[in-house]
Amino acid sequence: MRFIPLYIILITCALSLPASAQPRYVLRGVVTDALTGKPVAGASVAVRRGPGRLGTRTDSLGRYRLLMPAGFFSVGYTSIGYNPRVREVSIEQDETIENVDLKPDIRQIDEVTITGRTPDANVSETQMSVVRLDMKTLKNIPVVFGEVDVLKALLLQPGITSAGEGAAGFNVRGGAADQNLVLLDGAPIFNTSHLLGLLSNLNADAIQDVTLYKGGIPANYGGRLSSLLLLNTKPGNTERVEITGGIGLLTSRLLANGPLTRNRKLTFVAGGRIAYPNVLLRQFPEPTRKNRAFFYDLNGRLTYRLGAGSQLSLTAYHAYDNFKFPQDTLFGWQSTLATLRWSQRLSNQLNLNVTATHSDYRFFLDGLTPQNTYRFQSDVRQQDVRADWIWTPKRHRLEWGGGFTRYRLGPGAIRPTGSDTNINPQTLPNEQAVEWAGYVSDEWTPNQWLTVQAGVRWVAFTNRGPGVSYQYADGQARTPQSITDTLRFGAGQPLVRYGGPEPRLILRVKVAPHTSLKMSYNRTRQFLQLISNTTSISPADFWKLSNPNVPPQVADQVAVGVFQNLKNNLYEVSVEVYQKRLTDLVEYRNGATLLLNPTLDADLLRASGRAYGLEVSVQKTKGLLTGLLAYTYSRTLARVNTTYALDQINRGNEYPATFDRPHNLSISSQWKWKRGWTFGTNFVYTSGRPTTYPDGTYRLNGVAVFDFSQRNADRLPDYHRLDVSFTKDGRRESGQRRYANWSISFYNVYARRNAYSVYFQRFNTTTRSYQLSVFGSIIPSVSWNFTY
């Protein structure tokens, strides 16, 4: 309003002066941050109305200077990360001073806080084949049932697939779901699913960072063939106690973190999620409404800062699931993890970490059929102790260390429950093993163009007694009848030893300022396998250690990639190709008995596999619109070739693995709107999963029977889906302590009935095929989250 009189005056001025007047006057000033008062460098200052196009940028002290004609102008001040401002300015004297403060754009607050990595990490880091999830953007990704899910978000990344919608686990570069080492603060998680795989049991609120290695696995880790997923719990806020929580359609969450002591040396994180799927189940008619499901998970961590560079932390985690089928069965599974870690800076260049972990997974199944009541149980326990040193002299990063692991597995036990039951108790003997591992690895940067990371991990695995090893007759298929000898081993006696070196190598050559070429090779061994003969893993699957008849699985992977950043690191581009060879994979004889089978070895077959692929990723990490475009072409093939006809799968020919999905495209974007809204989209397209359609029919006792002679020779129809979400960030300014977020998601927006599976039935003389879709329509959901 105060400009109005000026305006009148100036109109007369403007009229009296012809537009062709030469720039004679100076407009200058300083642009500062409204909150901090610090100068804003590189802000653009542009005259929006008036003669010609005049503009400049502020210098490092936030100063600007423009030569202008006299007159009345509208001048815009803009800078990335700030709300733009427009000032009406009248130029009527030699020098006009206009100082402006810019308010930070609330929509871009997150970006200031997200990254601990340098903007050009994609190019400058040695690591390749690595996925890092940004926990902040994770909350803006559309999700099903409103549940933010770390594992489902990973599926948008190149090279990562799953067996189907709602399937447990994930597959990395053609690896089976049990070939992923999932470590929460260093302790392995054996089952990552809630509700049979519909959700993962990792509470995104409690997790600080997520890193997945698809290749180039660091030498300090081993034990699984295909990938390494590192999850770290939040260390806890040192300033004040913060409480976050949320309510969704399926679960509610609460998490507190903050200092416990006055000196702020001891901080804590404690929280959990609890689910109420029964509310949904009860909406359905009989008998579905009688089903009951329940799950929860708890996360906790204590961190004690002993002094500069010295820290002690204790993590605990527990997840529990059950599902009840009325009158029939109740089953459940639970994971318990604990980690104690001591980190010590020994000198400016030398750091030491000592870690002890404990992980325990149990599955149980209660048979409730009258006169056949029983409880079946299986469990696995792993305990590790390890020490890791990091020494960082100039141009080197030398890491070495080692560890000891103890395994104890209960492959299965059944005992009768209740008084009137016909079940006999039966317990398969426990399996136990120890593993020693040592590694050394050096990352050497002789000059700015080259980095070499070379390492080797040496592992020695011993399956130890008490135990039994069966010897099978040569020259015939392994069956319980072909057992020639039974060797019994006493406590601590070694049944078999396996191991050897696992070389790891990465080369990075910076071929241009913003482009590098990387190459990696790694070998991995796996001594612990999940026994599962189904398309997707299920909680009833159990783990088995390598023994004299089941050698460890081995994988060799080579990958080459080009990494380039464009437009001042605004776009990160990478193209990778990989090839993988896998040996001694576990396959199953047709009709194999897996549960409670004392001679399970005889039902297991050895398979070999190969996988190769091309992964392209384009990522925009800055600005109001961010996103990822990922395309993968990959193949995964397996083969079982023995000399015994009954042991062959697919007559010894190579067949696609069940998670072989050649084309894989995902586009996800987050677009920040005004007033704290973010609009998120996902588009996913993948080739259908391989499956087996019948290729013949015959009659047995008058009943038509299908013949499935060629495994995975067919494919389900292609899968595609679009999801959108609207997230409202309740913060009005940065540093706001109490706020609430809303998240509204629409999953499968165009309601495509994606095939989950196809099955066949006979009707009189015709074969009919049916397609099962899990999500046959759009799934809306809403969740409310708060921070206090």
Binding site: L280, P287, N291, N590, G591, T593, L596, G696, S773
Partner: protein
């Protein structure tokens, strides 16, 4: 048991949580691969003849039980035992693909091993692994329980047929149960209602009530691994549908199996019960104990040549405990097709089957 319940659980769970998850028919091309020999034959401890059926797998599209192009005629088939007996089978003159073992010297005896050899018309030879006939425990009288089904699923109510038997103390016993029954059916009208207008027989329908053979599931098998030496009590083998009010006649046979035969039937059950869930077992051909000899011994036949001891039980279910009027109100004409028994049920008979115990 475990995987089956988890399999159905996940399917239901997904259907529930998917809210609008759906199953819809799709049309898919069915691939055809080379035809394979299918062997179906069983030597029992009951007196011969025993039929052996030889067919090819292929495309079952005609309404014939065995399409002409899939029946194997003119094969040379022998059954032999480990006592040196050997008999050539006669081909049935009227029923294509059927071969009969009529030699009384080869009547099955527990403890003996039996094998089959086949020379196909194209010259290929197949032999079975010698199959041991193991003894079977006696089947005790059957239990029958009426069970109401959920009406909204458009299913009939059922009689649950349950078996009881005592497993011997030795481990390694395997069982298979096969059931069939002559179930009462109506066509055109139920007998107590007024006959429909324009009925050819206005005074009542003599051809509207009959008994029709129905078969229970084939692959009901059990190993004594978990229950060795205990009773097998009240095990459900068949839920026989109730389509009409009146007496029903059911027979259950209990077979002994070798471990190989048990695994064959397990594969059969796994493969034929595929529900489309990700918890289904991986698909594969259901191969048995018959393989080609000569140049390609890796070629296995489908089907199984078995040798089993048998124990039978029959039960006559009176069926008059059901309330006639309530049954008609509940189901109406749902299970009453138009026409009469001769047109609606080609295999039906108007008299009750012979050899069943009298109605209680």
């Amino acid at each position: 048991m475990t995987t089956r319940s988890i399999r159905s659980t996940i399917t239901i769970l997904l259907l529930v949580l998917g809210l609008t998850a759906c199953i819809e028919p799709v049309s898919l091309p069915i691939r055809q691969t080379e035809r394979r020999l299918v062997v179906e034959g069983l030597i029992t401890n009951e007196s011969p003849p025993y039929p052996i059926k030889l067919t090819y797998s292929g495309n079952l599209q005609s309404s014939l039980l065995i399409p002409e192009e899939l029946a194997i005629n003119g094969a040379v088939v022998f059954v032999s035992d480990d006592a040196g007996n050997r008999a050539r089978l006669e081909q049935d003159a009227l029923n294509p693909a059927f071969y009969w073992m009529r030699d009384p010297a080869l009547r099955g005896q527990p403890g003996r091993r039996y094998s089959l050899s086949v020379q196909l018309p194209d010259g290929k030879r197949y032999v079975s692994k010698p199959e041991l006939m193991t003894p079977v425990a006696a089947l005790e009288p059957l239990n029958v329980q009426y069970r109401r089904q959920r009406q909204d699923l458009a299913q009939s109510d059922v009689f649950d047929i349950r078996v009881n038997t005592q497993d011997p103390p030795t481990p390694g016993n395997y069982y298979r149960w096969a059931s069939y029954g002559y179930l009462l059916r109506w066509a055109g009208t139920d007998p107590l209602s007024n006959p429909p207008r324009n009925s050819p027989d206005p005074r009542g329908c003599g051809t509207c009530t009959c008994w029709v053979p129905y078969y229970g599931p084939l692959g009901e098998v059990l190993s004594d691994a978990l229950i060795n030496g205990n009773r097998i009590a009240n095990r459900l083998v068949w839920s026989a549908p109730i389509y009409a009010v009146g007496p029903q006649y059911v027979e259950v046979r209990q077979f002994s199996l070798t471990r190989d035969a048990f695994q064959y039937w397990q594969r059969y059950e796994q493969q034929s019960n595929r529900t489309g869930s990700l918890f289904d077992a991986q698909p594969a051909s259901i191969e048995g104990n018959v393989r080609q000899t000569g140049d390609d011994t890796t070629r296995l036949a489908l089907g199984y040549f078995g040798a089993s001891s048998v124990s039978r039980q029959r039960v006559t279910i009176p069926g008059d405990t059901l309330d006639y009027a309530r049954f008609i109100i509940r189901f109406g004409n749902k299970f009453i097709p138009p026409g009469n028994c001769l047109t609606a049920y080609p295999q039906s008979q108007f008299e009750p089957p012979l050899g069943w115990p009298p109605r209680r």
